[in-house]
């Protein structure tokens, strides 16, 4: 089923490949907030996120004439953005840390930090926190895309470059975790 938003995206995207400035601008403005929030999953540095979004659209514009074969605009944009941002985080962390494992540290720390902030506000959420900390980064991404952005499983599999069955598995396990909340 094609939603209105998907249709709008497709129109803007095809406009962009034909050098239509307005379509390009609309695409950027429609996606900025979504991608910004998505980026928050990986880092707390807003500037890094904004930079990645700009560079992403810079690439789109430069290569616009070759981008007319993109079928799922939403999945394509999220994937490209995710790659761009992770590359930037990796590049930057080279200067700070010595190895790649720290990307995940970075990832965790951002979620952890926001949890800590909340902790001060609400002491009662111990159960919730333990459940969320049991979710791994992939699960968090999947939940974000599925619950918050309304991605289909197929779109999630394309965006995160994992197979369809894995998406289903991750979703299933995540839901099981969350359901534990009910038992508390």
């Amino acid at each position: 089923m094609i939603s209105n938003r998907d249709l709008e995206d497709a129109i803007h995207w095809s406009g962009m490949t034909k050098s239509d400035h307005d379509a390009f601008s609309a695409l950027f403005k429609n996606y900025f907030n979504d991608l910004h929030n998505f980026g928050k999953l990986f880092t707390n540095e807003n500037e890094l996120i904004s930079d990645s979004i700009q560079d992403l659209f810079l690439d789109f514009w430069i290569k616009r004439k070759k981008l007319n074969k993109v079928l799922n605009v939403k999945a394509f944009i999220y994937t490209a953005f995710r790659n761009k941002l992770l590359k930037k985080i990796k590049k930057r962390s080279k200067y700070i840390f010595k190895n790649d494992k720290n990307i995940h540290k970075d990832f965790y720390s951002s979620v952890e930090q926001s949890i800590i902030k909340k902790e001060i506000k609400d002491e009662k959420n111990i159960k919730v926190r333990s459940i969320i900390s049991n979710l791994n980064p992939k699960q968090r991404e999947v939940i974000f895309l599925k619950f918050y952005k309304g991605f289909t499983n197929d779109e999630i599999s394309k965006t995160l470059n994992i197979n369809y069955q894995s998406v289903k598995n991750i979703l299933y396990r995540s839901k099981q975790y969350i359901k534990k909340l009910e038992e508390s």
């Binding site: 950027f28 403005k29 929030n37 928050k40 926001s114 609400d122 974000f144 839901k175 969350i178 009910e182």
Partner: protein, 389 residues
């Protein structure tokens, strides 16, 4: 959603209206009712709420002004990016103007292509706004005002303000060496070649030429951009090579324009006789005085029309005359003259403008103010990027 149906926490969290209710604290009778219906429901809602509030990636909303700002930065990045990718070859946006006082020449069939050894790509350095002299030995010199130029291999090139003079150089006749003068946007520079031919190079242009012309055979130079040529009388034909076409000078004054970003090259003949031909082609298209010959890069064809030649030559005195040009054409000129990048967001490009700009004492702001007053445009200047609305 039916109230009686047993609903689990995952379903609640996935429900958009529930999320909005939690996030924005909007009135929602359905969920308010649901929560008060039973103890069980109240607990469920409480847990789902705390999950969402703890797990709050979606909470932040970026303001529209912020996105607008981000978009302007993006536009600037795009502009600088597309421009710098063009820059290595320099915008050969240009007119070549030739004043030539002599006639007769012969057409050499073996048009030596050594001249076309492409202009060495200009490194992307901070040297981009400096006038540079490149020698065939690979040595580069910065040409700064009022500074003596000493070339390493003892070639004697005299230099006075805004001009290099090769007429008295001491390179032996049997040696061939090429120099290339690169003039960035926002600057102009003059050259006197070994035969006494004077070349005024306009902003964003490059000329490649031999230190000494051969005694016998045509005098050949290669140009990107715009130049005004005052060609010295000689029995040797003067040839200007460009990417697409070759200009053969038989004795004449003319103005040749070969912008890479334009679909056409054009040559305006002031007086005398000039022939154009397509590279690797034999047939010659002759231009009559007072006419402009136009070469279409797409169709590879020539045509000509009558024009006012002053409009094409005034720049050597620092004056730009604009007659019946649309804003896109004008902004291209302004970009080169003032070394700025202009993003034109105006939709109406059919309006034609007239203007006289003196580049010696007018700034880009003064020029834009003029357009603002008479044509109701709005502009913003961010360093070297200007956005026109």
């Amino acid at each position: 959603m039916k109230k009686n149906k047993k609903i689990n926490i995952v379903e609640i969290i996935q429900n958009k209206s529930f999320r909005n209710w939690v996030r924005f604290r909007t009135d929602n009778f359905y969920w308010e009712d649901f929560a008060t219906e039973s103890q069980e429901n109240a607990q469920l809602v409480e847990k789902a709420k705390s999950f969402l509030l703890t797990y709050n990636f979606d909470e932040e909303e970026v303001s529209e002004e912020f996105i607008e700002d981000q978009f302007e930065i993006l536009i600037k990045k795009i502009y600088l990016n597309t421009n710098s990718s063009k820059r290595p070859k320099l915008d050969f946006s240009i007119l070549i103007i030739l004043i030539f006082i002599f006639s007769l020449g012969y057409i050499l069939n073996d048009n030596l292509n050594f001249f076309k050894a492409e202009l060495v790509e200009q490194e992307k350095t901070e040297l981009n706004d400096q006038i540079i002299l490149k020698t065939s030995l690979g040595k580069n010199y910065l040409i700064q005002n009022e500074e003596k130029l000493v070339l390493k291999n003892n070639i004697n090139v005299s230099k006075s303000k805004g001009e290099l003079d090769y007429t008295n150089n001491n390179l032996k006749d049997n040696k061939i060496e090429f120099h290339e003068l690169i003039v960035p946007r926002g600057k102009r520079y003059n050259l006197v070649l070994s035969d006494g031919t004077k070349v005024y190079l306009n902003s964003g242009s490059a000329l490649k030429y031999p230190v000494n012309f051969k005694k016998n055979g045509p005098r050949e130079v290669y140009i990107e951009g715009e130049g005004f040529f005052d060609v010295q009388k000689s029995s040797n034909l003067f040839i200007i090579n460009t990417e697409d076409i070759i200009v053969e000078v038989y004795g004449t004054k003319f103005n040749f324009k070969n912008y890479t970003e334009d679909e056409n090259s054009s040559l305006v003949l002031v007086e005398g006789k000039v022939g154009l031909k397509i590279t690797e082609d034999e047939s010659i298209f002759e231009i009559k005085p007072g006419n402009q010959g136009i070469f279409s890069k797409n169709n590879k064809t020539f045509s000509s029309e009558h024009v006012n030649t002053d409009l094409y030559t005034s720049w050597i005195n620092g004056e730009i005359i604009i007659r019946s040009e649309n804003f896109d054409q004008i902004t291209k000129k302004l970009e080169r003259i003032f070394n700025v990048n202009i993003i034109n967001k105006m939709i109406n490009s059919d309006v034609l403008y007239n203007a006289n700009i003196n580049t010696n004492d007018e700034t880009i702001e003064e020029v834009l103010e003029y357009f603002k007053e008479i044509n109701n445009i709005n502009y913003k200047i961010y360093d070297d990027v200007i956005i026109i609305n």
